[in-house]
Amino acid sequence: MTIQAQIRDIINGKIKKAVTFGLRKQFLNDQAETLKDLIVKRTRLRRGVDQAGNTTTLAGLKRSTINQRTRYRGNLSTFTTPARSNITATGQLLDSFKATSNNNELIVTAKENRRTNLQGKPSTVKHADIIKGLESGNIGRNKTTPRPFFRASNAERNEIARNIRQEILKGLK
């Protein structure tokens, strides 16, 4: 084996170790948590994400929806107002988000723990169905403007990619 080949092998071995370090389960779980927080915060700030990963302003609420939210203002989350379109009424959907990682994938899911609706009555609506409805604009029998939000934006991917790259480089030491 030439000296050059030996050096290459040493470097490859170090890189392999560094990548294993940067992709360890606990670190990726932390990154999934970071991603979840970014999605929740961005959504509460009225920003959705289109299929290309670009952020968009979430469509405004209809007058009838604003009126209803005004009537039940006491049940609104403290992170919204009657007229604010931010996928937040009681706040249970965004609060239910859980994060984990599996096979180097970051996974954010909505837990099915919905308890009450805006009127304060028990609710059987599933979070998964709400998300699907917001994405397509078909909520039950009602048609509404699509409000896609439940994916990572390009900017959010950049932050996670940066964190992982820095961790891998840290693993070289």
Binding site: I11, I15, T78
Partner: protein, 167 residues
């Protein structure tokens, strides 16, 4: 609206991979420094207005009085290495990214939606000092730091390959 970008002179002997590696680290440095309330000259950012501090957005973002150019984090996370050529890299925002170009322009000029720039309110974050750039360049300089540079460049090469294969 202006297209916000910054040309930065780098070592003329650096190859494309070295320039890409330096570009990424320059962006990382700018993001970190901005989150620590410092502009490109190391000066502290001007403080937030009282009305902004009382806003619902401020509360949602969990912000404190520490100015860090971070509400949703989107602006800082959208800084990219736009291009590079011998002896130079260009970082900034995609030309078509109207929202983040506008946000960055507002911060850099201190306009924040107004027509007239206000240097007293400006937070000029896009740039790097010569000494900070030298520290970054040293990590990728094969003449001065061969072992570390080879390792780091090998990692960056792998990540860039991975990135281009998944896009």
């Amino acid at each position: 609206m202006a297209w916000i970008r910054e040309k930065i002179k780098v070592n003329e002997d650096f190859n494309p991979l070295q320039r890409q590696a330096v570009g990424q680290e320059v962006i990382d440095f700018i993001v970190k420094r901005s989150k620590n309330s410092r502009d490109k000259n190391g000066k502290p950012f001007p403080g937030y207005s009282d009305s902004y501090k009382k806003s619902l957005d401020f509360k949602i973002a969990g912000k404190t009085s520490k100015v860090n150019l971070t509400l949703s984090s989107e602006m800082l996370n959208s800084i990219r290495l736009l291009s590079h050529r011998r002896g130079e890299i260009t970082i900034g925002f995609n030309r078509g990214d109207n929202l983040n170009n506008a946000k960055a322009e507002g911060n850099i000029k201190g306009t924040y939606g107004q027509k007239t720039p206000n240097p007293r309110k400006a937070r000029d974050f896009l740039g790097i000092s010569t000494s900070a750039l030298e520290t970054i360049e040293r990590k990728y300089d094969l003449d001065r730091n061969k072992e570390q540079a080879l390792e780091r460049l090998a990692v960056i090469r792998e990540l860039l390959n991975d990135d281009s294969s998944t896009n």
